[in-house]
Every structure is written in C-alpha cells, then in structure tokens.
C-alpha cells in the first residue's frame, strides 16, 4: 500500500509539473497575474509529492519489501541499515528518483525565496523548471519505475553491488546531483531571460548564488567520488579520466567558468550574453553527464545501467533542452544589450582569460570523452582515448591558467595596471621560487618538472594570502587597523582567497603524489619485513573474519618508523560478498600527516606467502582537502550579505545597488 501510494504520488507530481510548465507560461503571455501566481504553490506541492514518493521507496528498502522488484534487485535483509537506506539511490531507478526529488526541491526553493523576483521572471523560471521536471518524471515513470512489483515475492534480495556498500558512495550521488541539478536553476533563469528578451538586475543577482551553491555541491561530489575510487577500487588511483568521471568534471569546469563570468555580470553588467550561454551550456553538460552515465552508452567503472530504451529517452530529453535553448539563444541573443566597457587589462579582462582557458579545457575533455563514440558511429572502428591523452592536453591548458590566478583578484575593475599588480605579487613570487629551489635540492628523487609543479602550488597559495594581506592593508597600516580591516573584509573576498588557496592545495597534492609516489610489489610471508619510504612494514599474517553480509581474509601489517618505533597496524583485506559471490579489496591505509601508506592484498602464493602491493602516497590527502577548502570558499562567498539567498532586507538591497551605482 505504501509503495502504491509512492507510485501514485509520483504520477501526481508529473501531472503537477505539466501544470507548472503550462499555466504560468500562459499567464506571462496573457499578462494574467492569477495564472502566473499558480507557479509557486504548484512547485511546492510537486516537491511535497516527490518527497512522499521518495519516502515510500525508502520505506520499502528499510522494511526489505522484496515484492518490489527494485528492492529485491538491490537489497538484502542482512545488509546494514545504513546501506539499506543509501541503497535507495545505489541503482538506476532509485537514483533517478533522487534526481527528480532534488529538481523539485530546487523548484520549491525558487518558489519560497523568489518573492522579491519580478513576477514574470519568477513565473517563467518556474515554468522552465516545470518542463524539465515533466520530462524527467515521465522518464522515471515510463522507463525506470522503481515501484514495480513482482509476484510471488522472493524470500531474499540479491544485495547491493558490494563496491557501492560504502559510506563514500552513499554521499557521493546526492552531492553530485545537488550540483548537476542546481545548475538547472541557472539554466531556467537563462531561458526565462531569453523568453522575456531582457536581462534585468534581479537576474544577475540571482544567478550567481545559485551557481555558487551548485558548484560547491558538485566540487564535494567529485572530491568524494575520487576519494572513494582511491580507497575502494584498490589500486590507489584517484582520477582515471574515466568517461563517467569526465561527465561530472565537464559541468564543474564550465560551472567554474560560469561562476567567474557571473561576477563580471553582477558587478559590471558586462559579458551578459556570454554568461547566459555558459548557464545553458553548463546545465547541458549536466544533462549530457546524466545521459552518458544513465544510458550505459559508455561502458565504464560506474556503468550499472544498460538498457538502450532508456538511453534513447534521455537522448530525446537532451535534444529537446539543449537544442531548444540554443535555438532560443540564437533567436533572442541579439536583442539583449551588451553592458559595461572595460580595458583588456582589468579584472574583467582577467576573468575573460579565465573563461577562455576553462572553456577550452571543457571542450578538450568533452571531445576526448565523446571521440571514441564519434569514430565508432562514423567509421565503425573502435579507438580508446584514455589518461595519457587527457594528461597531455589538459595539463598544458590549465598551467597558464593556474599561473594567472593570483593576478585576477588583485586587478582593478575597468582598467588595471599589470605592472603594479606584478609588483605587489613580488613577495609571493619570491616565496614560490624559494619553494621550487628548496624542493629541488632537498626532496629525494624530485625532477625539474615536479619542483616546478610544487612551485605553482605554492604560488597559488601565497597569491591567495597576498590578496587578503593587501586588502586588509597588512604592512602599510598598523596591526590594529589591519586586523579591523581584515575582519571587516566582505565574505566574498575571503571566499575567493579560500577557493584559490584550495586550488593550490589540490595542485600540491596532485603534483606530489604523481611525481614522488613510491611503489613496491613483493611476496611476503608472515613475519617478513619490507622497507618503503623510510618506514618498515611487517606482515603479521592472515585471519578469516565474518562480516554481516560478507566474509573476508584480513591481512594484518605493522609498520615502524625510521627509528624502529612501532607506529600502528594496517588491516588490508579481500572480501567476498556472499549474496552476489563478488570479491572486493579493502585496502589498508595508514595516514601520516597528509601522506598515506597504502597496502593492497593480492593472491596467496604456493609457498605460504601472499602478494602485497604497497604504495607511499606523499601528500595525497591534500588532493581532497583542497576540494574541501574550495567548498569552504564557495560557501563563504555564498554567505556574503550581498548575495544571501533569503528574505530581502533593506540592508541587503542597498548593498546590491552599490555596484550598479559604481558601474554607471
């Protein structure tokens, strides 16, 4: 009964999304306030119904109701409760239900907080959201119904794919979807502006916080997915340039570009048309990502959905939204007015440069991801485009961008002075140079390129610190005044500095782990030791262990530091999930500062030993910590009074007006 209620609620939500699309749109055409006002309540009701539907599926999972096909295929009565709940979105149908839930949630947010938007803009935005919702509700109902029953009901479920029974993968999809779907708001705003044929001040004010929020979630989702792959797939890689990873990285890259061009638009009302196009492209890439992952058109690590009928359906959605919005853009863009003028050497100019490189990087990853499909479709031949291609093209593209980052925030608006900015960055440059020299002479086994890479990371971090120091006047005014100024800096300034600092942290982690990693592959018998990166690892032996829904062989290791002191134990195991008879590796990881000792267990040998692969991963944690710092930066920027998404206040609207007055 609960399950049928959930199904019925989903059908109702679909019907409401059609109302949400058609009625407000008609209202704006006819100039009827009553029709336009329908949008808000309908969006909220649609969200409530979708939430009810999602709750019903969750209930079926919690109760292990195997009469529901989806639960039977992806759950097991012995599975820990946490994974019963997260298993709801650990499969195609459930994850699409989560997708529409988040979409409906964002629609409701616009309805709740959009009271200060012009009525027609609000109606148009919600109408576009309604259309996106309708397409995906229909997709779920027609091709991916999570509520289908089986009769007679099986006694036991088939369990969730073991590699998905992990806390990292429990959080990864919701974060990723919050990012993907968050960009739908920017998209809806862009399309609404095109429908209206004008971009007003409210538009710019609204798009940036939404972009920021979506970007923060997407950053978190990608970092989480990367960390999961690192410890769960068992060969210590943290980024594979896998098509599915690229699918999430593409909207991140263009979303980052959008974030920066939206600043120009908000502050200087320039780059309007470009920002609009980026908003459309970013959500289009999110849709493309959904298509690539959900259709199974690419067979890759993550592909757990293979059904061509679904692929075709999403492809139709893709064509409708991308084609439709771009056609609208082509028709209407020329009627939009271009805003403020600026000199090429200026903050605006720096942000344009940022957009040029980020867009090119996006296009490079996109073509690399789609090229094998293209070649296969045209010539029938199969080729591979893998990590070596992306490393060779992507890294040279982002290098100049990374080098330019510290200049951006120090440039003045409208017309900047490159020479003066370079002078101010002199200390940061000197510091980075020192780091290059120190690491070149004092780090074992480092090459020129690696030292340079570490220098780039230091440059980014010192650049961010310099930005904050200069803006609070450290060095030029007294300490007390500088402190007051520092505390009084707008939160968005902190946000920028934090995000750029985080970029440096991630860069440092990437450079260190790719160039200084140490790897040993050996056969070890119990009691034997092996040296690695100044530590000594001793193999203690293997013991069987019985988990709730798996059995495992636990390998126990102890490691010692250079002075011979015992530093701790590392458990590395091979698991067999009994329901699916599927083996997984559970790598043993010991963290030393930001570095990790990573131990993976292999097959036993005939002479009583076991093959062990051990890595020393220097500063590897910084890769993801940098992501966390970037998220903190984004959140900080989001909390800026000027941008706060919430009820309007006199204070806030005054602050919002300021930049426009300055721009006049």
């Amino acid at each position: 009964m609960i399950v049928e209620t959930g199904h019925f609620a989903l059908v109702l939500a679909f019907a409401l999304s059609l109302v949400q699309f058609a009625v407000p749109l008609a209202g704006t055409r006819l100039g009827d306030q009553r029709l336009m006002a329908v949008a808000g309540p309908v969006a909220v009701a649609g969200f409530a119904l979708t939430a009810l539907s999602f709750a019903a599926l969750t209930a079926a999972y919690v109760q292990s109701d195997f009469s529901v096909a989806n639960v039977w295929e992806n759950s097991h009565s012995l599975k820990p409760m946490l994974y019963k709940v997260t298993g709801v979105w650990g499969n195609h149908e459930g994850s699409m239900l989560l997708w529409v839930l988040i979409l409906a949630f964002f629609g409701a947010l616009v309805a709740w907080f959009g009271a200060n938007l012009p009525a027609t803009l609000r109606a148009n935005v919600l109408s576009v959201q309604g259309l996106i919702g309708a397409a995906f509700f229909l997709f779920v109902l027609a091709t991916s119904n999570p509520f289908a029953r089986i009769d007679p009901a099986p006694m036991e479920g088939r369990d969730l794919n073991p590699i998905l029974q992990d806390i990292g993968l429990a959080i990864h999809p919701p974060l990723l979807y919050l990012g993907y779907v968050g960009f739908s708001i920017c998209f809806s705003f862009a399309v609404a502006a095109l429908i209206e044929g004008r971009i007003d001040a409210a538009w710019a004010r609204w798009v940036r916080p939404w972009t920021l929020a979506a970007w923060v979630f997407l950053t978190g989702g990608i970092a989480m997915g990367s960390y999961w792959a690192y410890y769960e797939l068992g060969w210590g890689g943290w980024w594979f340039w896998d098509p599915v990873e690229n699918a999430s990285f593409l909207p991140w890259l263009s979303g980052t570009a959008l974030l920066h061009s939206a600043i120009v638009m908000e502050k200087r009302s320039a780059l309007k048309i470009w920002t609009l196009l980026l908003a459309i492209l970013t959500f289009s890439l999110s849709l493309l990502g959904t298509f690539l992952v959900r259709s199974g058109v690419l067979t890759s690590v993550h592909a757990f959905a293979t059904d061509p009928s679904r692929g075709l359906f999403i492809l139709m959605i893709l064509i409708l939204f991308i084609g439709g919005s771009l056609a609208l853009f082509a028709l209407r863009a020329s009627s939009l007015t271009q805003g403020g003028l600026f000199h090429p050497v200026s903050r605006e100019g720096a942000l344009v440069l940022n957009n040029l490189f980020l867009t090119t990087a996006t296009a490079t990853v996109l073509i690399g991801t789609l090229y094998p499909l293209l070649i296969e479709a045209v010539t029938g031949e199969k080729i591979s485009v893998g990590a070596p291609f992306f490393n060779l093209t992507f890294i040279p593209l982002v290098m100049p961008l990374l080098l330019a980052v510290p200049f951006g925030p120090l440039m003045a608006w409208k017309r900047g002075d490159l020479y003066a900015v370079a002078q101010r960055l002199f200390a940061a440059f000197g510091g980075a140079l020192l780091v290059v020299l120190l690491s070149f002479f004092f780090v074992d086994g480092i090459g020129v390129l690696a030292a340079f890479g570490i220098g780039v990371a230091a440059w980014l971090m010192l650049g961010a610190v310099t930005d904050l120091a200069l803006k609070s006047g450290i060095g030029s005014v007294g300490a007390a005044v500088a402190w007051r100024r520092f505390v009084g800096l707008p939160r968005s300034v902190f946000g920028t500095a934090l995000a750029h600092f985080g970029l440096g942290v991630t860069t440092l982690g990437i450079v260190a782990v790719t160039t200084l990693e140490v790897e040993r592959i050996v056969t070890m018998r119990p009691g034997e030791t092996m040296p690695i990166a100044g530590y000594t690892l001793r193999f203690e032996g293997i013991q069987p262990f019985q988990g709730p829904n798996f059995t495992e062989e636990q390998g126990r290791f102890v490691y010692f530091d250079a002075a011979g002191r015992e530093r701790g134990a590392i458990m590395s195991s091979k698991r067999l999930y009994t329901a699916r008879q599927m083996p997984t590796t559970e790598a043993g990881i010991a963290t030393r500062g930001f570095s990790q000792l990573y131990v993976a267990l292999g097959d036993p040998t005939s002479d009583g030993g076991v093959v062990v692969r051990v890595w020393w991963k220097p500063l590897v944690l910084l890769i993801w910590l940098g992501g966390v710092v970037m998220m903190a930066g984004g959140t900080m920027s989001l909390l800026d009074r000027r941008l706060r998404v919430g009820a309007p206040s006199a204070r806030r609207s005054k602050d919002v007006l300021k930049p426009q007055v300055a721009a006049e």
Partner: protein, 151 residues
Amino acid sequence: MRRLAAILLLLAVASPALAVKPSEVLDDPALEARARNLSAGLRCMVCQNQSIDDSDAELARDLRVLVRERLVAGETDEQVIDYVVSRYGEFVLLQPRFSARNALLWATPVLLLVAGGSVIALHAARRRRAAPAGLSAEEERRLRDILKEPD
C-alpha cells in the same frame, strides 16, 4: 547475454586489483621502468578504461608479459607498441595516434584556444575603436582657452 557481459566486466573491475605480480617484474630496473611506462599507455582489452598496468585481468597479464618479453629481446618502445597495435588494433592505445582520423581530437584544444583568443582580441580592438578617442589637438586648444578664460 548483455547482462552476463556486464557482470563479467564488473567482475574484471572489482576483483582484487593487484596488477603487476612480483614474478613479472624484470631484474633490470631500467627495462622494468620502460615496461611500466609502456603498460600505462596500453588498454586492458576486457576491462573498462583500465590500463594493463592497473588491471588484474588474465588478458592484461598476458599483454604485460608480452611487452616485457619484447623489451628483453631488445626492441625499442616504438617497436613494442607497433607490434601490440598490429596484433590488437589501435583500440589498445590509450593515447590515440596523430593521424588524419584523429585530427579533430588533437586539433580541437589548439583551434579553440586560438579562435577564442582571436575573438576576444578582435572584440577588444573593436571596443577600443568604438570608445571615444582622446581629445584632438583642436579640442585640446579650445579646452585650454576655456580654462584660461576666468583669469
């Protein structure tokens, strides 16, 4: 069949990923480094986007051994790659070759950067022309006159 293939693929991915085994490692560290380097660029044919260096699949092991045998026999990196491609096709290369067919792939980043850069440069130049130029000599003279008048 499709489902079976999917399960097999998943198994290949999820099975204990301990790629290179101690028995495979060559005695000569320089040769072994070259082998590892080559392996990282060769695709495991039965896996999903994994190099033979990362994969635990039987076929990947065979290919790793093959690469090492060829290297020990004294072949250059290029000869080994050519041999592997002649046996398995270009699909095995994770980095596609520079060929006419792959021109679009390799050229896109460069073309886009150049095209984008040119558009921005042109735009900036046009803006500068459209922006009011400085005062002409005549205007400068008149301005001086006006400013002098009160004296």
